[in-house]
Symmetry: C2
Subunit: 354 residues, 2 copies
């Protein structure tokens, strides 16, 4: 591997001059020398050692991101937003998948700290786990104490800058929507109970149902993995225990897709017999059949905002931006069977604010 000294030697200059030419330093270099250096670079196919540069330079350019899983569309969208702002500001992104393992999340905080990133962004639900939360906050505090910046997406446990999707309001919207359609027997396909996202959404749903004097008994809430197969399993359990359900709420779209798959396999007509609502509005939601009614979260925007917060030197007080959720009506919901709906519905699949 060619080094800067090799280049300098070949060009007949000092490493200092070579460095200045290569980095376009403000210090002027004679045209003649500049050319010789550039020729040497080309001839040797020289590429600077990024680690040596980082070690020698003072300022850090990279930003670290910890998500549950980038290949999950929810995080893919958020990452798109993060990426956009980062690229605009000439920052490099290091993306880490925790695969919903809190320990791995802690490890990644250390790893990113070791990589000297300028900021760390934590995306995705927090955990109901006091020990973990304390440990995480300690590590983040240590990082911030040495000048690192931290921003979180959708986690209340951290006291710094945050972008918060309004999960609870989204849950309320679902309750209102289904109540209005006449649904009274509602089952919930929920993600792991240990995730705050799950409980927030559930709390909102409960609140709006309670406002109408309805409660959500425990046996009508089934927890499973936050993915398609979890949705299949939870829906099956729900239906087996309670065949009379007229609506199923999945606490994210992946689970909703699983729910639809199970209902189809059992030949349950959606929405004629059972309505299904999801959460997140991932891109695929419009392409399943029936197209999924869901609660939209501005995922790309959330990523963009979080990155802006992280890169902006920042006010003294922590900034918290709450982004609203809205209902997107498509074809997977309809009036509860045997009940006159409160409000007539169009058959189309257009979206509208909730």
């Amino acid at each position: 591997m060619a080094t800067l000294s090799d280049v300098a030697r070949r060009a007949g200059v000092s490493p200092a001059t070579a460095s200045r030419v290569i980095n376009g330093s403000s210090k002027p270099v004679t045209e003649d020398l500049r050319e010789r250096v550039l020729r040497a670079v080309a001839e040797l196919q020289y590429v600077p050692n990024a680690h040596a540069q980082l070690l020698a330079r003072s300022h850090r350019m990279a930003v670290g991101v910890i998500v549950h899983d980038v290949s999950d569309p929810y995080f893919a969208e958020i990452t798109r937003g993060l990426q956009r702002v980062a690229t605009d500001q000439g920052r490099l992104l290091t993306i880490c998948n925790s695969y919903r393992d809190p320990d791995r999340e802690l490890e990644y905080v250390e790893l990113l700290r070791g990589q000297q990133v300028a900021a760390i962004i934590l995306a995705g639900s927090g955990y109901h786990d006091a020990t973990f939360t304390r440990l995480l906050n300690e590590k983040l505090a240590a990082y911030e104490a040495t000048g690192g910046r931290v921003a979180v997406i959708g986690r209340h446990e951290h006291s710094g800058d945050a972008v918060m999707p309004d999960n609870r309001a989204g849950g309320r919207l679902i309750g209102a929507e289904l109540y209005e359609l006449g649904h009274r027997a509602i089952g919930v396909v929920a993600g792991p109970a240990v995730l705050t996202t799950t409980t927030d959404r559930l709390t909102g749903l409960r609140e709006s149902l309670a406002a109408h004097g309805l409660s959500l008994p425990e046996h009508r809430v089934r927890h499973a993995e936050f993915d398609r197969d979890g949705g299949v399993a939870a829906t099956a359990a729900l239906l087996d225990a309670d065949p009379g359900l007229t609506a199923i709420v999945a606490l994210n779209d992946s689970m909703a897709i699983g729910a639809l798959a199970l209902l189809r396999s059992r030949s349950v007509p959606v929405p004629r017999q059972v309505s299904v609502m999801g959460f997140d509005d991932m891109p695929i939601a419009r392409d399943v059949t029936p197209a999924l009614t869901t609660v939209r979260l501005p995922l790309v925007e959330m990523g963009a905002r979080a990155m802006s917060l992280a890169l902006d030197p920042g006010a003294a007080a922590p900034r918290v931006e709450v982004l609203p959720a809205e209902v997107v009506r498509r074809d997977s919901t309809g009036p509860a069977p045997e009940v006159v709906p409160v409000r007539p519905r169009a058959a189309g699949s257009g979206a509208s604010a909730g």
Copy 2:
């Protein structure tokens, strides 16, 4: 930021000893000192500077991966395979998205080289572009000359180790399948013509149709972006020009989903009036309606194999592993209308090897 010297000073030992304790060096350290060092580490929340370590150490642990877009399920699956093998061998993965921009791909090769990665893996279609190919090969050769390892997935332009999905054979399978079902008026929803993946699959399809005396006129092949919206656009163009088509082949599943969406919006029954076949077998293919008949590629396996090749010091001769494609029959294909099918089909949605 605490440094190793800080730790050493606080523990009352030399940096050398501290380093040995922290890295679990083979050199023995007295229990007493070891404890003091570890305590100092904890108290200072010390995390080693990864760049300094990489600079000081000789061996490289990270592996670089360049894909078109990880959030595309095709690459997400491949990445899963890469990740698995990398993790097993204690390697860290740096993932770069080129977003199908050849220039960005070149930049990333340099970037990864600068990061001193042990290997670079290029996943995703190559380009029909001689200049780019030459440039890329030059850069890769320079990297390999300094001990770097390179493996590619699905690119013939590189002469080293490679994992090749059998795109051409897959194309042939599609042709055979549709011919057998009686389809004679077939349209193709294709990705960008500049991608070798597109042309390979198309070539295979043409070959099998030619074997039956059929040709594929240019106006029945529409090129667009390799995603859902590209599928919508190309299918619309296809149908407008030729309403009598009985089958549509999409050269990947994302486009196929777009095709299904467009057909639904025009109320064209699938597969009764038009059959649709995809390519890749992404996970979502089974959850759209009708479930998508497609050609399965062992994506995870491809990633795993590529990583194995890249990490295995390697034979002198380049190793090329060709992985087979197989048809997965689901519900989006059926006999051509007005034609008695060559072979009767079951109504179920089970998958079976082709």
